[in-house]
Amino acid sequence: MIMETPVNPTSSSFVTVRGLKKRFGDYTALNSISLEVAEGTTLALLGPSGCGKTTMLRCLAGLETAEEGYIEIAGKVVYDSSKNINLMPEERELGIVFQSYAVWPHMTVGENVGFPLKVRKVAKAEQQERVRRILDVVGLGAWYDRPATQLSGGQQQRVALARALVHEPRLVLFDEALSNLDAQLREQMRMELKVLQDRLGFTAVYVTHDQSEAFALADRIIVMNRGHIDTQGLPREVFDNPRTPFVAQFLGLNVQEGKIIRTAGAPPFALASQRRADQWAEVALPGGTAVWGRIGHDGPMAAGSKALVCIRKEHVQVEAPRAAAAGSAPAQQAFPAQIRAASFLGLSEEYIIDLAGIELRSIQPSAGVHSGDGVKVRLPPEECIVLPAGAGTASPH
């Protein structure tokens, strides 16, 4: 669709949100949110339920009205509290896919998908042609005349997707769009969505609580927590370097509180894999274990202050004592520990480990150890991330 409004020259991004505030009674759903989305990219809003991500999406769509702030989509100001601008949802030229699909049960597949064209008074013949084309794209070409109620969940999802794309909107919003599908179908749709976006080049905002979905689909990720933006960045950045305790916990890392013993430019031993980090710290954990890790936070961290040590489950290495004895080079940062529980996950095995009174979880290929066994646990220093304590946490997802 061709835009009538001239592009605002002051803004380089496609979607601009500034200072958006929204409250529901006493509850602050959005606390001064600002964000940008570049044209043709996908932004994922990630966070636990109640973090404000869905409210953010609904404010973009015009389904919810913020109290304060500014929203611009494709150069068109759609909401500006200071100038009393608030466009109705239908004036914002968007597409949306809901978790519940929201496929209208009283219409056929063709009528559902053709709806955005019908309300735009596109000529009948063109409507039909465009609907057929987009149905082919989502693989439902043969379903044009079928009642929408005969479709399976995955097919309804495709109808909803086709409906959101048929009028070539400038921005497509996805509200937990894949979470009603079963795991296998979800993977498949995720790939198809990515292919479609490359092909059609639309800009997307994708709300989800599922981190793997966000990492797979997004060019940029914003992690939200209680109405704030907690972290934003490239998927790899957010994944590799959780910068806040909240993100670390949300992504499912082991998080242990301790006290910083000292900080240094480098740990006092050679690293297995060389990785540049500006600052290192040694942290004393409860039970007397001292661990070196890299500081994953920009602010100053002084000796004596409280800190969190975060390490991904996949990086906690469990070795059976025999293997360790026979083992190769003596590894840094390995501690005697005990297996509390082991559960078989198929390709890998999850262990709950007791390390001098603290509990760690590890996921790795089976080490052949069982509940109650004494083991060696290695915490590679380059995988231990040290963050300041008390900067805001949430219950693990």
């Binding site: 949802p89 519940s100 009283h106 309300v119």
Partner: protein, 584 residues
């Protein structure tokens, strides 16, 4: 056997008899109960439905020669009826009343439901209660009240508008087809309202949001998404209103029959008055039953393909429309109009008339007297007996009806019989059949039996007519109860009876209370079948109202207010139990 270190037995082998495991005998009686009780309920239901139907059918086919000497099986009754111009007049009038009432109550019910569920109108929760009240009131009393309010010469509204505004409303005449439609619409609006409000509330907001985001305006979305999604509820509401309002005896009897306007229910009534022509009445009844059943079947068939699942996923609450100033005034005016006409005005009129010793159309507070109440409560045998009879019938009928419906619902929801669908169709049949026609069936059955002119036959007719309503309420609750809850009770060693008593009935309790109160209300005000079945000594309040109507307005109004108080307390109880369910 597992032994601990000390040698104590901690678990018993599974096959050894233990004190709490039911013995063989007990298990057998449990099975007999489980099969027998629901089967009994279903059989009783079928007999109650089939009895009056077959009686009417057979009677309609029997034709006595004019001299009464010979009887033959023929269609003579039908041909006589169909060629009678009075029948055509009655059928046309009833069609007009039914269609009129259906149109108005559908429009009113939908608008009221929408205002209450989808706007931010202040005081919505109060209006929500107010909109429901007419559902619990007696249409006969409502018609009486409206005859006080809007009769050409002595109507309260006519006199008041003349006194205060100098406007003559003489042309407004409640004793007309228009008057019948008016009162029917007021009383049947809650049927549509109730059926529409829950889909309006529970509809997945995303269905409407998606339309808005994809470019549809608010009104376009209402027309193309919201209304079509409500269509199944609207259509079933309209069918229910048409079938029940057209067959209702109370309102045309009060407002049309007195002015010589013929309708189907009142014609059936006069057919069995002296000199009675049961053949004519029975063929009349058969025709109405056929139309009712056909309409109900058509509606079922239509709905079968259109059960939209509009509740899905996490679903937000539908958006509430923020009304503008003028919108708020319009919504408020609509609510005031409906509750005013359906509840406030009729009650005010009844109270005014009941407090006046002579009614002239104007209320004089200085002359207010309780003498009418004193008369109907303490001095007049007919009304005293009628009040007792009504309460006895309502309590006994509601209890028996709910008891039967529990068994039937159990059968319909828990048995694996293939006949379930058919049996459900049969059991829910009486709902649409007018009371006067069911009453006729039982009258034909009971004539020349000891049941004739007893309270028992009235009780049987009540239960037969309205137990399907209880089935509907209880079945809805049954569907929400996972059978695994009962299965775990059985697995824990409970018999079927114990499972019913400790698991199922407590879970069903809210529905049982609601169904009981609903039947109670319906039985307290029932007129259509009672008017055919009562005899001296078995009058009910509604019958007494009719009987008194010929003598004194004040007595009628006083007795009507007493009935109203009973109905309103049942409504209050209903609201109270619903509220306590909501808190759970």
């Amino acid at each position: 056997m597992m032994r601990m270190a000390g040698g104590t037995v901690v678990t018993k082998p599974l096959d050894a008899p233990a004190g709490t495991v039911p013995g063989h005998e007990r298990r057998r009686s449990s099975r007999a109960l489980q099969v027998g009780l629901p089967a009994f309920g279903v059989l009783a239901g079928i007999v109650l439905v089939a009895g009056p139907f077959l009686a009417t059918l057979i009677r309609s086919l029997l034709y006595w020669s004019p001299d009464g000497a010979s009887v033959a099986v023929s269609l003579q009754n039908f041909t006589a009826l169909l060629s009678d111009p009075r029948f055509h007049e009655a059928a046309l009038n009833t069609l007009i009343c039914g269609v009129g009432a259906t149109i108005f109550s559908t429009l009113l019910g939908l608008s009221l439901a929408w205002v209450v569920s989808r706007t931010d109108l202040p005081g919505r929760s109060w209006f929500e209660i107010g909109n429901m009240i007419p559902f619990f009131l007696s249409p006969y009393v409502g018609a009486e009240a409206w005859s006080y309010l809007a009769s050409p010469n002595s109507g309260i509204l006519q006199k008041a508008s003349l006194d205060y505004f100098g406007v003559s409303l003489q042309f407004v005449n409640i004793f007309s087809l228009g008057g019948v439609i008016w009162v029917l619409s007021l009383f049947y609006t809650p049927y549509v309202y109730l059926l529409v409000i829950s889909p309006l509330r529970r509809m997945d907001a995303a269905l409407e949001d998606a339309a808005r985001v994809h470019g549809a305006s608010f009104w376009y979305t209402v027309r193309h998404i919201t209304i079509p999604l409500l269509m199944p509820a609207l259509l079933s509401g309209a069918t229910v209103v048409f079938v029940t309002s057209a067959g209702l005896f109370d309102v045309p009897f009060a407002l049309a029959a007195t002015r010589g306007i013929r309708t189907v229910p009142t014609e059936i009534f006069s057919s069995v008055q002296y000199p009675a022509d049961f053949g004519r009445a029975a063929s009349f009844g058969m025709l109405v039953m056929l139309i009712t059943v056909a309409l109900t079947l058509w509606q079922r068939h239509y709905m079968a393909g259109r059960r939209y699942e509009t509740v899905t996923g996490k679903g937000y609450r539908p958006r509430v429309l923020q009304l503008t100033r003028s919108g708020r005034i319009a919504a408020l005016a609509l609510e005031t109009f409906y509750i005013g006409c359906g509840v406030v005005l009729p009650i005010v009129a009844l109270v005014m008339v009941s407090l006046s010793s002579i009614w002239t159309g104007r209320f004089r507070p200085a002359m207010a007297t309780m003498s009418n109440y004193k008369y109907v409560l303490f001095e007049y045998d007919l009304t005293r007996i009628a009040i007792v009879n009504s309460l006895v019938l309502a309590v006994a009928g509601a209890t028996i009806g709910v008891g039967l419906s529990i068994l039937q619902s159990y059968y319909l929801n828990r048995s694996r019989s293939k006949a379930r669908g058919l049996i459900e169709a049969v059991l829910t049949m009486p709902l649409g059949i007018p009371g006067i026609i069911l009453g006729l069936g039982f009258l034909i059955l009971a004539l020349r039996t000891p049941l004739y002119s007893t309270l028992a036959i009235i009780l049987i007719a009540y239960v037969a007519h309205f137990f399907p309503l209880a089935i509907r309420t209880i079945s809805a609750m049954f569907m929400a109860i996972n059978p695994e809850l009962e299965q775990s009770a059985r697995a824990s060693g409970a018999t079927w009876g114990q499972t019913m008593r400790y698991v199922l009935l407590p879970l069903l309790k809210p529905a049982l209370i609601a169904a009981w109160l609903m039947l109670f209300v319906i039985f307290v005000r029932e007129l259509g079948s009672t008017i055919l079945l009562y005899a001296q000594g078995t009058e009910t309040i509604s019958v007494a109202l009719v009987a008194l109507g010929e003598r004194n307005f004040g007595y009628v109004a006083a007795l009507a207010v007493i009935q109203l108080l009973v109905l309103l307390s049942a409504f209050a109880l209903f609201k109270a139990t619903r509220a306590s369910i909501g808190q759970e």
